[in-house]
């Protein structure tokens, strides 16, 4: 547990104390003194390092990543429920991996809206997959990728296939919200700025977290409604629930697109109906929804399919939907087509044929957007021109089963 002891019996006593036993102060102090000695396993081997040192012709350094722009993205590989996961920092301009960050079991990525930091809500166990559970929030500088905060949280993160918007920063980037499923639905509030966990907030039987201001977020509830959750500094929570906006048989996918800056949620059903939820006013408005597929296309079995099958481009108001011809109940399998619709009119703008099986999509928010098309099976990110579908870059070898794309400029 500590890397510096050589007397496990002593340590066992400290552990017993930590876990509910009793320890004397003198024991603790003795242990602390002892802890300064002992090997780390990281020393340069003494039997080898004495004979030769030499200056290199090269001068190795540790690099820093470029300043994030709207084409900086993070790809997370949950590695099919593995206890060790990776998040790849990628520069879309160059199609280059800038760094890789390690997370634990079902680590959930997030990124500051200004690009200054990114992070993971993560869960580890003291013995790889068993032993003591430890949930934490780790925050990284977006350039150096150094750890800038490691914040302990209660061991109650919702362990679920990685969904964006189940963990998110607030608009001011000072706080983080994460979801708890059990024993009862709650949302955890973390003070990123001051590097500490604040409290759990009781919420209804609702899911996802869509912040609209620094003390307000929306959730989607089991009964088909949206809940507006407002909290104050003392942990008092105010809940205001709308009527259901979709029917029980309209199944909304787990991974909607949300533009925090525009206050727009684009939420498709398995069958390709898209609900646009406007939360920009601080209230949820359900004015817009449209079908991506015509009656003829529906008859031809066009349906939504993938892990992140929807993306929203803020300035143009365009919605991208990953879809294909498919049987019912194949809503999580990959697709080979992207349909682009105008969110206001619901009209189709274009259709992009990907030519390969893609599981997740995202778009950059600049005026000449890139379309990010991630293949879990190929472990490869394809970066396309979102207008033409032309391939700009290909980034292979992204772990074991990459599924998630996160951008800060959403």
């Amino acid at each position: 547990m500590t890397h510096v002891h050589s007397t496990p019996e002593l340590l066992a006593k400290y552990r017993a104390a930590l876990l509910g036993g009793v320890a004397s102060l003198s024991l603790l102090v003795a242990g602390a003194a002892y802890a300064q000695q002992g090997p780390s396993g990281a020393e340069v081997p003494k039997h080898l390092d004495e004979k030769a040192t030499s200056q290199l012709e090269d001068d190795p350094q540790i690099l820093s990543a470029s300043t994030p722009d709207s084409r900086r993205i993070y790809i997370t590989d949950p590695a099919h429920f593995a206890v060790a996961t990776q998040t790849f920092t990628i520069d879309g301009n160059e199609g280059k991996v800038l760094s890789i960050t390690d997370g634990g079991f079902l680590a959930n990525p997030f990124a500051a809206t200004d690009g200054s930091y990114f992070g993971l809500a993560s869960t580890v166990y003291s013995r790889v997959s068993h032993g003591k559970r430890d949930d934490y929030i780790e925050v990284y500088d977006a350039k150096t990728h150094d750890v800038i905060a490691d914040i302990d949280i209660p061991e109650s993160r919702f362990l679920v296939g990685t969904y964006p918007w189940m963990t998110t920063v607030t608009p001011d980037n000072k706080s983080l919200l994460f979801y708890q499923f059990t024993p009862s639905p709650q949302v955890g509030l973390v003070d990123i700025e001051n590097k500490k966990f604040v409290r759990m907030l009781d919420v209804p039987d609702c899911y996802h977290i869509f912040p609209t201001s620094n003390d307000t977020f929306f959730m989607h509830c089991r009964n088909g409604s949206m809940a507006k959750i407002t909290f104050d500094k003392d942990g008092k929570v105010d809940v205001k629930q709308t009527e259901a906006f979709h029917s029980e048989s309209e199944y909304l996918i787990n991974t909607p697109a949300f533009s925090m800056k525009a206050g727009q949620i684009a939420w498709p059903t398995y069958e390709g109906k898209i609900f646009m939820i406007d939360v920009s006013s601080g209230e949820a408005k359900f004015g817009k929804h449209f079908d991506v597929f015509s009656d003829e296309e529906k008859a031809d079995n066009w349906r939504t399919g993938g892990w992140l099958p929807v993306a929203y481009h803020r300035n143009s108001g365009q919605v991208y939907l990953l879809a294909d011809q498919r049987a019912k109940w194949t809503h999580k399998y990959s697709s080979q087509f992207v349909f682009v619709h105008d969110a206001k009119t619901g009209k189709r703008i274009r259709k992009i044929e990907l030519g390969r099986d893609i599981d997740s999509i995202a778009v950059s928010q600049d005026d000449k957007p890139q379309l990010y098309a991630l293949s879990t099976g190929e472990k490869t990110l394809y970066i396309l021109d979102a207008e033409t579908g032309k391939e700009l870059h290909k980034v292979p070898e992204l772990g074991h089963g990459p599924q998630v794309i996160v951008a800060h400029d959403n």
């Binding site: 590695a79 099919h80 429920f81 593995a82 206890v83 079991f105 079902l106 869960t123 166990y125 790889v128 997959s129 068993h130 559970r133 919702f158 362990l159 679920v160 296939g161 969904y163 499923f181 059990t182 024993p183 009862s184 639905p185 759990m200 009781d202 919420v203 209804p204 039987d205 609702c206 899911y207 989607h220 509830c221 089991r222 009964n223 088909g224 409604s225 809940v239 029980e248 048989s249 199944y251 909304l252 996918i253 787990n254 399919g305 294909d324 011809q325 498919r326 049987a327 019912k328 109940w329 194949t330 809503h331 999580k332 399998y333 990959s334 697709s335």
Partner: protein, 183 residues
């Protein structure tokens, strides 16, 4: 497949509205340890309307849809696996209905109604995860017959269904496919 069974009596009234109320409980004692090892298995609220699996589709794992077989439980297209997401325990040292040595059996489950091409009946399957180890990695399998979004968690297979397992084991190793009864 629409006739009433004993399960209908249990689940009939359950719909998405049952848990729509606000839940304002604080931290509570662990239910899991009380549940572990008992014969009564907590099945989650179930509403099976419209989600009885169909029998006439091609191989699993593709856009072609679900076409189950009834002879090899280690294959992803075995009929009982119609809504599994993860790894089949039969390939990990377990069996169709038993967990591998060294894992912890979860008492909680998500459910699906799967069609058995052998007897042409549908059965309610309560998928139970074997927990406390890193993902098995063998016989990976994703089927999504009747699989519902996370706001209907009792049918959602992205969730780690290790709730209540011994030692609070919450890591996912593999899934078994025991039968509850005819659907």
């Amino acid at each position: 497949m629409l006739e009433k069974t004993k399960f209908d009596q249990v689940f009939e009234s359950l719909s998405r509205t049952i848990a729509g109320r606000t839940s304002r409980r604080g931290f509570i004692g662990k239910v899991g340890t009380a549940l572990a090892g008992v014969a009564l298995v907590p099945l989650l609220p179930v509403d099976r309307r419209g989600r009885v699996s169909r029998s006439a589709h091609a191989a699993s794992g593709t856009r072609e849809g679900w076409k189950p077989q009834d002879n090899d439980p280690s294959q992803c297209d075995y009929w009982r696996h119609c809504s599994i997401d993860g790894n089949i325990c039969d390939c990990c040292g377990g069996s169709l209905t038993n967990c591998p040595p060294g894992t912890k059996l979860s008492p909680s489950s998500w459910v699906a109604s799967c069609y058995n091409p052998g007897d042409k009946q549908s059965y309610l399957i309560a998928y139970r995860d074997c927990c406390g180890k890193n993902v098995c990695g063998r016989c990976g399998c994703l089927n999504t017959e009747g699989e519902l979004p996370v706001y209907r968690p009792e049918f959602a297979n992205d969730i780690i269904w290790c709730f209540g397992a011994e030692d609070d084991a919450m890591t996912y190793h593999c899934t078994i496919s025991p039968i509850v009864g005819k659907a």
